[in-house]
Symmetry: C2
Subunit: 372 residues, 2 copies
């Protein structure tokens, strides 16, 4: 039993996911550490914020440092000095992002390395093997991300390829796993019936979790919500639900309402490096000149190292001087904000006060709570 639901409110769930490295409290936000580092933070700083799981990217780590290096270590945990859980993305999404640099066949994907142009081939089996070498706690099946927009035919063909690759992923995984978990990825574009079919397909295979892919591919937010809403009552009760590459604080909150347990996104760290800071009242742009002489903290309601110790004026100054510390302190703040948001959601679910949480969340932002 790797996943337990502890409490529910409508579709929203308070749960616990046990991996070989740690126990992860859900709903959870997972910071993205593409190249074996969450940009700008030491593992100690991630630990201090309270994260129990982070992401790595099989695609990027396969290119740099490459598996030859990783094999000298006991996997990615040992390499990057992170002893809690790691989930690795299979590379499907990253290869899909290469556009004309990739060629997809039944066997797998051939692509040109964005680093040196060399040809690389990756099959579902290769992806799983890469992730096993990385020794990730949670491994993702190899999928083809469906283009947006795409016709129903295109979406169906793409989904069927993902299904065949899912079977090959699980076959290879079963033979080689050692305490690892494997998640399947639901595709189907923006078509409800295809999404239902794909979810059913994945739910019937022996996956440890169900991920929703293809929901951060440039589609309007309305479309994403449509699919989440449609799938919410169909998601399997006993497995964790992960929506990939999502999202804003509002999307996280809405995701939880639709039964999602796990999220990841580069936004908190990428936005931090561009001076966009998350607060309980919305986004604060530190580059605005109004902050030049402000002794105020970023947010009255945040307990991050950054927020406790530094003023808006100091962060404005560091950002203006292109100091490394600007990226570090603002990334710490944004990640701490996302961590606290999920922690508040979990607490409200435990105390059966999720509706109150939602009311207060939308009130603070002067937004109307959307209908479920």
């Amino acid at each position: 039993m790797t996943f337990k639901v502890l409490n529910k409110h409508e579709f929203a769930r308070r749960g616990e996911l046990i991996t070989k490295s740690s126990t992860v409290q859900t709903p959870v936000f997972m910071p993205v550490g593409t190249y074996g580092t969450v940009k700008g933070l030491t593992p100690q700083q991630l630990h201090d914020i309270g994260f129990e799981i982070i992401l790595g990217n099989a695609f990027h780590l396969h290119l740099r440092p490459g598996l030859e290096t990783i094999k000298k270590f006991d996997g990615l945990h040992d390499f990057m000095c992170w002893n809690k859980s790691i989930l690795t993305d299979s590379g499907g999404f990253q290869i899909w992002s290469l556009n004309e640099l990739r060629k997809i066949t039944e066997k797998g994907v051939e692509f040109k390395s964005p680093l040196d142009g060399s040809k690389i081939f990756m099959s579902p089996e290769d992806s799983i093997q890469t992730q096993l070498t990385l020794n990730a706690d949670i491994i993702m099946a190899f999928d083809e991300c469906t283009d947006y927009p795409s016709s129903q035919d295109e979406a169906e063909n793409s989904m069927n390829l993902t299904h065949r690759w899912a079977k090959r992923s699980i076959d290879y995984f079963q033979k080689h796993k050692d305490g690892h978990l494997l998640f399947g990825i639901v595709q189907g574009g923006m078509y409800k019936d295809l999404r239902t079919e794909s979810l059913e397909f994945m739910s019937n295979l022996d996956f440890d979790g169900i991920a929703l892919g293809g929901l951060s591919v440039g589609e309007p937010k309305k479309e994403k919500t449509k699919i989440l809403k449609h799938l919410a009552p169909e998601l399997p009760e006993n497995k964790p639900h992960y929506v990939m590459g999502v999202g804003t604080p509002e999307e996280l909150v809405e995701g939880v309402r639709y039964g999602i347990d796990m999220f990841d996104c580069v936004m908190p760290t990428r936005n931090a490096r561009n001076g966009f800071l998350y607060t309980s009242k919305g986004i604060l742009k530190i580059r605005n000149s109004e902050h030049k002489n402000s002794t105020k903290p970023i947010d009255e309601n945040c307990d991050s190292y950054t927020n406790r110790n530094f003023s808006r004026a100091y962060l404005h100054h560091l950002d203006k001087c292109n100091e490394i510390l600007a990226s570090t302190l603002m990334s710490i703040h944004n990640l701490a904000y996302f961590h606290k948001l999920m922690s508040d959601i979990r607490k409200s679910l435990e105390e059966n006060k999720f509706e109150e949480f939602l009311d207060s969340f939308y009130d603070m932002r002067s937004l109307k709570k959307p209908q479920l």
Copy 2:
């Protein structure tokens, strides 16, 4: 009594300097925080290494964020969240570095802002006032750095201007100080008789410490050593001795032998950002391909956070990917190396084992111990 010598070996001294913010154990290395941040490190990380004093630059901080911002805070400590000691450089050296952008008169220096080309005037009084506004623990007199090379006449004229400015600095300081300390700066180029004259001049004024300026201006190491050697027996016993902008580990060790108590240099952090790491056996270049798969730490003899937790392969990888964490972890390592070096020197002086320290220091590097 702000400075006490606790122990001596020939010219080398183990001492203690008390500022309004903290007690500083000497000999000490002070990391440089030009713009109110030691590049790449949080104040917490500086504190964890064990630093008791860091540098700020009056010149840079005057330009950015500017005094208007600093005045909203209780000085630089409050602005950057550093509660131990701060020494500020007066701006003399930085303005001198501007070359053709500056015009020096008896009254002070007019220079073009390297940021926006606007004309700025700074007198000795302005510099002291800026440093008082920054609320530095240790304030430096405003000096003219002597060019290298320069004729004896040029060096003498420049020195005399520095002397007149030193008097004006001390006059202004005495009227406005509040627990701050003021150091005078000895100039005189590479001329022993001028250096003696300048040292005597500064020693006879009511300065809390004596700094040697103009010794990191492009002169050969041999010239620097000649001046240090010449001044060593003439330095006033009861005041701290600070050689500005110095240096390599070897120069620090030699400096202590010549009676120097305080050092600062951008090298540990600048070199870290370029992949040059200090070790007990000399410099390690992390970009060399030999480190690509190395599970070894940087140095067998270092207790830094970086060294305890990360391999050469991981740092090589981060550096190759231009990750922010590369700069942070390598800066932490280099600063921890400099901190430990000074701490080892202090311990050896306390235990009357400085000669043994010197023998071991040079042996590890396969270098011959220079004659004192």
